[in-house]
Amino acid sequence: MSGPPAADRLPDFSSELYKDAYSRINAIVIEGEQEAHDNYISIGTLIPDQAEELARLARMEIKHMKGFTACAKNLGVAADMPFAKKFFAPLHDNFQKALAEGKVVTCLLTQAILIEAFAISAYHIYIPVADPFARKITEGVVKDEYTHLNYGQQWLKANLETCREELEQANRANLPLVRTMLEQVASDAAVLQMDQEDLMADFLSSYQEALLDVGLTSREIARLAAAALVG
């Protein structure tokens, strides 16, 4: 058994290779925060008594978006927004379809659990290898995202008995997308020294933890998680 690698080295933030990869990863993050904002506002139309709280969450996402925009500017990078739009399209379309059908559970699972769990784990992995400016911003963001994850958990927990089946369907439709999206950016993430296996593993840990709290058993969650892992 060999020991750990020598002292961790940070990437060269000024290299063209880094900036090129960062233009896509940063764009995804910016687009993700924008989508999150829009999604929380949309969910508010389905549960009007929660609209105010959801609008509050949505405002936080816009604040995050501005923070990440500043990160790109700081490194002298232009975020590749067309790439990010295309990247989010399948998940965006699924969300819009569920919204049109009034499926609250699907919308919440997609935004408040799946996307938030993914964002949290990705931010955690990014923080130790981020440039000092982005590091500070991301540390602030990650604290907020836990609130959002928690919001989704609480709602689903309170309504679990009526939404179990829809949860499963929503998981099956959307979890594999997360894996595909991750694979699409694996090489860019690697340039930022974010390891694909770490990203997937930490995401699954966060996802499992959120669903355990909602009230699913570990066997049920393993079945759900397998939708992303097997095949």
Binding site: S2, S121, D195, E197, A201, A222, R223, A225, L229, V230
Partner: protein
């Protein structure tokens, strides 16, 4: 509540176990999938001591398998994630079993106290090495006489003498048993010299020199695949305590007069309803377990919620006395040679 963090002995076994526990999808998955899989709290347990005290706990499978040992980041993440799950599950004292404590120590994970949003509280964890060392010593003291070996006239070789368990075994044997001679075997010279000075005795020898002179051999190092033991040169009788991990000494040394006993294994006085030990190749899985796991259970029985065994070379005789007394009080017994041991164990 106590916790046990374990893992399967190999990947095929892990898949079979997943299937038997109702994790069908994991059973189908590839090794890459298992590398990403989060740890699982798979079983909740309850034990009642002979005195009627009941404790509760849980078994966490880290979803690590030894096939992942070459992947440093994976192995590290598996151990830390399992510890995070133990802490978040409210387990007060959790033992690191099998490779998890070896990875923790070799990869110096003490530096990695922060995992995601969780700060690991070290006092919730124990390597279980104090109890393992005590059990191994007891196995030597109980079983040597059964083979006609009088420890006062015996040479005891400790292979892996400078490790956490090995050094504790040396300390105990030299101060508590009146062993005639300790043969100290380990890879690095300086720690051996330090140990010899601390013990005030013991001979430092290479493995090949030590084995033919030993009446008892305590193995607390993991055995290299390539190791071969010249069986004909060993003494007869020779008691070999296989205290390493994984336990594969019986495949390297067997023959007339050689008695291999699985070291660091204890048996509880009554049946435990759990599935996890069946796959750990215990002869009596409803009662037997690794002594390191039993340490967490004992600490829970005693209400000692602290990292009792932690770091390297911190095991004192006082601590061994304490955990040993608790072990006996709460219905554990160290695994012994069977009465017809020469037939049942030596030829395993």
């Amino acid at each position: 509540m106590f916790g046990l963090i374990g893992h399967s002995t190999n990947f095929d076994e892990a898949r079979a176990k997943a299937r038997s526990l109702g994790f069908e999808e994991f059973a189908e998955g590839s090794l890459d999938m298992w590398c990403s899989a989060p740890p699982q709290l798979v079983e909740r347990l309850e034990l009642t001591s002979p005195g009627g005290r009941t404790v509760e706990g849980a078994y966490i499978d880290s979803c690590f398998v030894p096939e992942m040992l070459s992947r440093f980041k994976t192995a590290r993440r598996k151990v830390l994630s399992a510890m995070e799950l133990a802490q978040k599950s409210g387990l007060d004292i959790t033992a690191l079993g099998g490779f998890t404590s070896i990875i923790f120590e070799n990869f110096n994970l003490l530096k990695e106290q922060q995992i995601r949003s969780t700060t690991l509280e070290w006092q919730r964890f124990t390597t279980g090495n104090t109890h393992t060392a005590w059990v191994i010593c007891r196995q030597v003291e109980t079983n040597a006489p059964r083979l006609g070996i009088d420890l006062r006239h015996a040479s005891v070789a400790v292979v892996g003498a400078t490790g956490d368990i090995g050094s504790a075994v040396c300390r105990w044997l030299s101060q508590r048993t009146g062993v005639r001679e300790l043969l100290l075997v380990a890879r690095q010279q300086q720690p051996l010299l330090d140990l010899q000075r601390e013990l005030g005795g013991g001979r430092i020898l290479g493995l090949d020199e030590a084995l033919p002179q030993a009446d008892v051999v305590v193995w607390v190092a993991s055995l290299p695949q390539t190791l071969s033991i010249e069986v004909a040169s060993l003494k007869s009788p020779c008691l070999m305590i296989d205290g390493g991990y994984p336990k594969n000494l019986d495949s390297k040394a067997n023959g007339a007069g050689i008695h291999v006993l699985k070291g660091g294994i204890v048996e509880f006085f009554s049946d435990i309803t759990w599935q996890m030990m069946e796959m750990a190749e215990m002869a009596n899985p409803s009662r037997q377990m690794f002594a390191c796991f039993a340490e967490a259970i004992l600490l829970e029985f005693e209400g000692i919620h602290t990292n009792f065994s932690w770091g390297r070379n911190n095991i004192t005789l006082d601590k061994m006395d304490l955990i040993g007394a608790a072990s006996l009080r709460h219905g554990f017994e160290a695994l012994s040679l069977l009465p017809d041991s020469s037939a049942a164990l030596a030829t395993a």
